[in-house]
């Protein structure tokens, strides 16, 4: 049979097999498994077929719990059904998994195994999630490589059909799910050979059907439940044998052989390690290397982990074994050992003497949590440990544990890179296309040469200006290196700015090739390199090349995309392929990638390829180091000790070296740390022209990163300003005689330009200029840094003097959310910042998992910060699905604390004094001035309490601050509010408690890459809605309004900013639940992020996003609670929608469907507006009616 070789990642491999053997696929996005669902949806939309010639039905659900329920139902109704998930998603599936297994239902769940959220969330890979599902009764099959993923996904399906035990097929998140590798693709013939149709028919025959009625899911009592539970035993007993049979059949069909436990190493090994997943690949390669050197070591790869076959494991182990070390990629605090360790100990204890003359020693250790590197050096350390006289048990490897001293020492110089292959590392920016180019390179080499190829990509924790590091390997031998490249024969640095901060040559091999993208030519570059870089170039005898990639990109119309150019350079100088052949292949790949985007794009890329070689130069490396420049410090000098000791190391890329003692024990981190990380990612920054400025505050309001700020201050302060610091007289009459300044933080700005687009003031002499204009950052950096520092020291206005309900006023409030890692031009963060300005000094924030929890809480630095008095938002993220409940919990605690404090206060009235007690308990805290006065009273109270000797006083002292009004905010995106968290949100809104919910509605799951939610508009293309969303967006506001007791506002800052500010203030003031639904433009809309607020304006004008407020307090005044703040639709929906790629895409891919959905969506707009107009009028009329009666 003809072999088809493809270069794909693990997720695509799993989805490929799953799609081929499924009829129903229920999906829900969660990193790192999302792309399995995305591929399935795309293939279904394109009409691709399974092996029976029909297209599987792909259904997105509202949560993983929902997906599992849908899977369970589809299985019960007889379909071959699958799903994909990871981490918390798998946890949500567990209840159904027990049911599915208890009912002996054939299915396979494919899991990109990922860490669980404990002291912190991590999207990266380990086995914590799958280990939490051990007790469900699912069989568990572990893949360790992309090829295995495709193969095991199929074998799991074959086995489950025969065994009737459901299967959890898992592989390591990111390391395998995202590794791109060249593999053999299963053909339809092979798949048909492996999957037995009679078993499929039997599965279907077991379905619930009214034509042969039966029932499942009965409630059972103590008399029979136990016995019923034991009925499944024979199925589990037979399962390993069935899997073994399937594996043999598979080997015969495809030539790829697997066993339940595969042994590699010396036949007379004395020390064997046992593990599963991708780490076993690196383990195999390391063991084989050591065996070549004569060591008696071996390794067992666990394939079928559940049901655990002790006999098969023992049979795989050489009889000579004296020490067994098990390696678990998970942690069970409090257990006597991790799961695999316990299984192996039990195996040895129960049956060991059937295989060995005496009991071998069994050791256990943990490795690789959250995709922590697992290298040959670590594996060797594990092997060395086992042979020591007093080896460490329950050890860790890969970290430095200086607290409980579990960690093993590693000799990092031990590497086993294949000399016959080529390893390469590329440093790029997210925006420059480096990763895309490398994926293309892997495909070119993988699909056009006999070489094996592997690519793995490391991304930044920021969404703007983020660095990517690509690790590529090519070579004639199979690649089992499931760890980052350690010795690179080629290093490409696609951004010269990285040289200022990172040692990009740390891993270059002697005589390696170094390619640098720089504006400096071959004769100038040397003088611009830091000392460490020069030293390494000379010491390692590096071949050094430069190209001005951005100039070539500019000349060839490629803009900032240097991907094609740098890829051409790589092929030209790496020698991986003959140059001409490589260029031909690059062009072929361009044609393939961009052919559908039109000839112009292809032509442009071809031109870039052709122009590149003329601009690529080898640098004559001098014999001596001339530079005295060191790397820039990762944080600025004034940073606090923790930031310098811990945060700075993480920023510098040295987080792996931080010991356990450096980490907080309970996941508690300081806030306000983004200010120390000066990223300098903006090419241009806004520059203020005071002569044109009208001091409206709009630029300050819309800035997504809080880098443009204004202050009104005492004129005397301006006299001490640096020379280039600008100020003018404040225009606001309330502040006559004072000065006004707008200042930009040059090193924190992302250069998005949103402020300039929003500025309404035009220079009358030259109308292309405004009151703020973008200018190149580098020449301004130093002086503006000084100006910024001066500006920070200027005190903010007294908050009670600021008109907080106006945009002009808000600009004078201190933002307590700054310099986040959100996308440049982000549509969410301006709302978040506004919240922080208005209520930050007394806010507790519950943040649903998603974009806002990532830019808000992803290490290394935190944008939530505090004011001069040390007050600021306290923030936490619980989960995705429970955020409303989590926030309600805050409120309940605060209310209880506050009430108890009140009770204690009354009890202590004799000691505290009646006047103060009365003042505190009767305080009006509805306005800022009232809150400030209350704080003063509470301070006075605390002073008094210090001298009162009683338990009540002690308690009151600890609770007194709760007597000052606290503001609870529940933040999250539409995926949370409309889908996974809707049930909880609904309940919290119905609770009547004083919580404020801010829904940052981007109309897709932005953080996981733009999957459709119930907020996605009809006709928009999104992942999981590749054929355009067929139904209208859920009207969450109207649902909330039906309670009559919930404050609801629909806002769009770009539509009417004053309405947004007013809504926030009213919502917070309302003593009950409030819901603000904020339109957030998003990169996932396919828009120009610089003009995102214009999209918002058009959304409002078209009536797609009406602005309104529903304030139950107005009912008390006999007024209509609903106020419409925008007018009836003024422009056709099309004029708004077709500015966005999410809508345009469908008009290009399915024009007729796009037209139909657009027309329906237009009707949605008219209908929705009519309803709101009616409600706004009707409520008033009914009130009038009551008055008349």
């Amino acid at each position: 049979m003809k072999r088809v070789q493809v270069t794909i990642d693990g997720n695509e491999a799993a989805a490929y097999s799953a799609f081929k053997v499924s009829e129903v696929i229920a999906i829900y996005p969660i990193t790192p498994s999302s792309s399995m669902g995305e591929s399935s949806d795309e293939w279904a939309a394109a009409g691709k077929k399974n092996i029976w010639g029909t297209t599987p039905l792909v259904q997105e659900m509202q949560s993983e719990g929902g997906a599992a329920g849908a899977v369970h139902g589809a299985l019960q109704a007889g379909s071959l059904t699958t799903t994909f998930t990871a981490s918390q998603g798998l946890l949500l599936m567990i209840p159904n998994m027990y049911k599915i297994a208890g009912e002996l239902t054939s299915t396979v769940f494919h899991v990109a195994a990922r860490s669980l959220a404990c002291q912190g969330l991590s999207i990266f890979g380990d086995h914590s999630d799958v280990m939490a599902a051990r007790a469900t009764g699912f069989a568990m099959l572990a893949s360790g490589s992309v090829q295995e993923v495709m193969d095991f996904a199929l074998m799991a399906q074959a086995a489950t059909l025969e065994a009737r035990v459901p299967f959890l097929h898992f592989f390591d998140g990111f390391r395998t799910s995202h590794e791109v590798a060249k593999i053999d693709r299963l053909t339809d013939e092979e798949i048909m050979e492996i999957i037995k149709d009679d078993l499929v028919l039997a599965h279907r025959q077991r379905a619930l059907s009214p034509d042969r009625p039966c029932m499942r899911g009965t409630a059972q009592n103590p008399d029979v439940y136990f016995q019923g539970r034991e009925t499944v035993n024979p199925f589990y007993d037979k399962c390993p044998g069935i899997v073994e049979k399937v594996m043999k059949h598979f080997a015969k069909t495809t030539g790829r052989a697997y066993n339940l436990f595969d042994y590699y190493g010396a036949p007379d090994a004395e020390h064997v390690i046992i593990l599963m997943g991708s780490g076993a690949e690196a383990g195999q390669a390391t063991v084989e290397k050591l065996v070549q050197k004569g060591q008696k070591v071996g390794l067992v790869k666990v394939r079928l982990y559940r049901p655990f076959s002790m006999d098969h494991l023992l049979a795989a182990l050489p009889k000579s074994v004296k020490v067994i070390t098990t390696l678990d990629r998970t942690k069970e605090p409090g257990a006597i050992g991790e799961p695999l360790y316990q299984d192996v100990v039990n195996t040895v204890f129960e049956r060991g003497l059937t295989r060995f003359a005496s009991y071998p020693k069994v050791l256990g250790g943990r490795y690789g949590l959250s995709s922590k590197e697992f290298t040959p050096a670590m594996i060797k350390a594990v092997l060395d440990n086992g042979l020591k006289k007093e080896p460490k048990n329950h050890f860790t490897v890969g970290i430095t544990d200086d607290v409980t001293h579990t960690s093993l020492e590693c000799d990092e110089s031990f590497t086993i890179e294949d000399e016959a292959g080529v390893c390469a590392i590329f440093y790029g920016l997210g925006a420059d296309g480096t990763v895309g180019a490398n994926k293309s390179t892997i495909k070119i080499i993988g699909e056009n040469t006999p070489n094996y190829a592997q690519g793995y990509f490391v991304y930044d924790s920021k969404k703007s200006g983020s660095m990517t590091v690509s690790h590529l390997r090519f070579g004639p031998n199979p690649i089992r290196s499931t760890y980052l490249v350690s010795q690179a024969k080629f290093v490409g640095c696609h951004q010269s700015v990285f040289l200022e901060k990172y040692n990009v040559l740390e891993k270059i091999a002697p005589q390696g090739v170094f390619l640098l993208n720089s504006t400096f030519g071959p004769d100038e570059i040397w003088e611009h390199l830091p000392k460490v870089i020069q030293e390494q170039i000379i010491a390692k005898n590096i071949q050094f090349y430069v190209i001005d990639g951005y100039q070539v990109a500019k000349d060839t119309g490629m803009g900032l995309r240097i991907n094609t150019i740098m890829q051409t350079c790589f092929f030209a100088i790496s020698g991986v392929l003959p140059k001409d052949e490589a260029i031909e292949k690059i062009k072929g790949s361009i044609k393939k990638a961009y052919g559908s985007k039109g000839e112009e794009v292809v032509r442009m890329n071809f031109n870039a390829v052709d122009q590149t070689l003329a601009h690529l130069h080898r640098v004559n490396v001098p014999a001596r180091v001339t530079s005295t420049v060191d790397f820039l410090s990762p944080v600025s000098g004034g940073a606090p000790a923790f930031v310098k000791k811990v945060t700075a190391e993480i920023i510098a890329g040295r987080g792996d070296q931080l010991p356990v003692s450096a980490m907080p024990v309970d996941g508690t981190f300081p806030t306000g740390t983004t200010q120390w990380e000066k990223r300098n990612i903006a090419l241009e920054i806004p520059v203020w022209d005071p002569s044109v400025c009208i001091q409206c505050g709009k630029c300050v309001l819309v800035c997504p990163h809080a880098v443009i700020r204004s202050k009104i201050y005492d004129a005397a302060l301006a006299e001490k300003a640096p020379a280039t610091f600008k100020s003018v007289d404040a225009k606001d009459k309330d502040f006559a005689g004072m000065k006004f300044s707008i200042q930009v933080s040059p090193e924190d700005c992302t250069g998005c330009g949103v402020c300039v687009e929003t500025c309404p003031a035009k220079n009358k002499k030259d109308v292309k200029l405004k009151a703020i204009n973008m200018q190149a950052q580098p020449p301004l950096r130093d002086e503006e840094r000084k100006n910024w520092e001066f500006f920070l020291d200027i005190p903010y206005l007294d908050r009670t003097r600021v008109k907080q309900n106006s945009v002009r006023g808000v600009q004078s409030l201190n933002p307590l959310f700054e310099f986040s890692g959100a996308c440049g031009g982000c549509g969410e963060t301006p709302y978040v910042k506004l919240l922080s300005q208005l209520f930050g000094d007394r806010a507790l924030i519950a943040n649903a998992t998603g974009c806002s929890s990532i830019y808000g809480g992803n290490l290394p630095t935190t944008p939530w910060t505090f004011n001069k008095e040390g007050r600021g938002p306290a923030w936490s993220n619980s989960l995705f699905e429970d955020n409303a409940e989590f926030g309600l919990g805050f409120r309940l605690s605060i209310d209880k604390h506050s009430a108890f404090a009140g009770e204690l206060l009354k009890r202590l009235e004799p000691q505290v004094g009646t006047e103060l007690v009365k003042g505190i308990l009767e305080a009006d805290q509805s306005e800022e001035s009232g809150i400030i006065a209350q704080r003063e009273r509470v301070e006075a109270l605390k002073k008094k309490l210090v001298s009162v000797r009683s338990n009540d006083a002690k308690h009151l002292l600890s609770l007194a601050d709760y007597l000052v009004k606290k503001s609870v905010w529940i933040l999250g995106g539409d995926g949370w509010a409309y889908d996974i968290g809707f049930g909880g949100l609904d309940h919290v809104l119905a609770s009547g408690r004083n919580v404020n919910v801010l829904v940052l509605d981007t109309e897709v799951y932005s953080n996981t890459g733009g999957q459709a939610s119930k907020a996605t508009p009809r006709g928009a293309v999104a992942k999981f809605a590749a054929a355009g969303k067929p139904v209208a967006k859920k009207d969450l506001a109207r649902i909330a309004m039906t309670y009559g007791s919930v404050y609801v506002a629909n806002v769009a800052m770009g539509g009417r900013d004053e309405q947004t500010v007013k809504s926030f203030i009213e919502a917070e003031k309302y003593n009950g639940p409030s819901l603000i639904i904020a339109y957030c433009h998003c990169i996932a809309h396919g828009i120009n992020m610089r003009t995102g607020f214009e999209n918002q304006r058009l959304a409002v004008q078209s009536g797609y996003w009406p602005l309104f407020r529903f304030n139950p307090d107005l009912l008390k005044e006999g007024k209509n609670p609903l106020t419409l703040d925008s007018s009836a639709p003024k422009i056709p929906l099309k004029d708004y929608a077709y500015r966005e790629n999410r809508f345009v895409m469908l008009s290009k891919s399915m024009p007729d469907r796009a037209q139909m959905l657009l027309e329906q969506a237009q009707q949605d707009v008219y209908r929705r507006w009519a309803v709101y107009e009616y409600l706004a009028a009707q409520a008033l009329e009914s009130k009038q009616g009551e008055d008349r009666s």
């Binding site: 559908s596 985007k597 039109g598 996308c823 345009v1144």
Partner: protein
């Protein structure tokens, strides 16, 4: 009554043609045009740079933010079957040809040499009966000579004529030093028809927002004098068909143009303003007018008041200017 006419080698049932406009973007409208009696339809223009921009935008917005962040390595589903640029346009021509019996004329607005040839051939392959070249060229570079501007037109025409069999019309602006010479040169180089005139969208200024406004102002009958003059002058000087457009709103506009020498009149603003059915009213009016004025055929009218045939040929020249000025009497004067 014989309303037939010949235009760029096509026999048309009457002299009323729907000019290139957004109306032709919908198949229903094209059917309505035929139903209301329109003799041929010129498709809206296929703008080469629009496709190029569209392609670049599609690539940019599909790739923006990708491969930057581990959780979101992309933001859109991969769509392989993507209709871009001319595909939709060509599909529409093919659909229109299937749906109506009247001739369908493609319109091409290109800017690169390769684009003109490729798309002209594509339009022909899609089944168009003719092709109108809309050389929308506003020379803003002071270094560019008039002759170079003329060369742009000629070179486009020559290339297209070399590559297609269907008749080719050239839509012109009046801004040439010697318009008749330009017209004749195009005629000599194979233009099957000349369309007078391209109505450049003129920019406006939005005083409130201090911006250049690009709102479209529809034509009125008052604007057709320029066309009328040049049709009348060219009538006897070129062999190519002449199409009169800009300001064709009613039967009098049609009759005047025919009498000046036009083979067809092209209507755009009037249809946008009044609806497609307006054509039927104009055609009915035409029959009535001809009946009332005793004309048996369009052919009889054609060119009857051209510069060559009219009693005062100087009226189309400088003398007319003098006459108009002399006849002007200020109000109350």
């Amino acid at each position: 009554m014989d309303l037939t006419t010949q235009y760029m080698g096509l026999k048309l049932k009457n002299p009323l043609v729907a000019a290139a406009s957004p109306l032709s973007e919908k198949l229903d409208n094209i059917k309505k045009m035929e139903d209301s009696g329109i003799a041929a339809v010129v498709f809206h223009s296929l703008f080469e740079e629009q496709f190029s921009l569209e392609a670049k935008a599609s690539q940019y917005f599909s790739e923006q933010g990708t491969e930057s962040f581990a959780e979101a390595v992309s933001y859109f589903p991969k769509v392989t079957d993507y209709l871009l640029g001319p595909d939709e346009y060509l599909n529409m021509i093919a659909k229109a040809k299937e749906a109506v019996g009247i001739p369908v004329i493609g319109s091409l607005n290109g800017y690169s040499t390769g684009g003109w040839m490729k798309y002209a051939k594509d339009i022909q392959s899609a089944g168009a009966d003719g092709l109108e070249l809309n050389v929308y060229f506003v020379p803003t570079n002071p270094a560019l000579k008039g002759s170079e501007v003329e060369d742009v037109y000629l070179s486009v025409l020559k290339q297209v004529k070399k590559n297609v069999r269907i008749p080719v019309a050239v839509k012109l602006s009046p801004y040439f030093s010697s318009f008749p010479n330009m017209a004749r040169t195009l005629d000599e180089n194979g233009a099957d028809a000349l369309v007078l005139f391209n109505r450049f969208y003129q920019p406006d200024i939005d005083l409130e927002n201090l911006e250049i406004a690009s709102n479209l102002v529809l034509s009125s009958s008052l604007e057709n004098r320029l066309t009328l003059r040049w049709i009348a002058i060219l009538y006897s000087h070129v062999g190519a068909s002449l199409a009169a457009m800009t300001g064709i709103h009613n039967v009098w506009d049609v009759v005047k143009m025919l009498m000046a020498g036009a083979d067809v009149t092209m209507m755009c603003s009037a249809l946008l303003l009044n609806g497609i059915n307006h054509a039927k009213i104009v055609l009915d009016d035409l029959v009535q007018w001809m009946d009332k004025h005793d004309y048996a055929s369009v052919k009889e009218m054609k060119g009857s008041l051209s510069q060559k045939s009219c009693a005062q040929p100087e009226a189309f020249e400088r003398a007319n200017y003098m006459k108009v000025l002399q006849s002007y009497k200020p109000l109350g004067g």
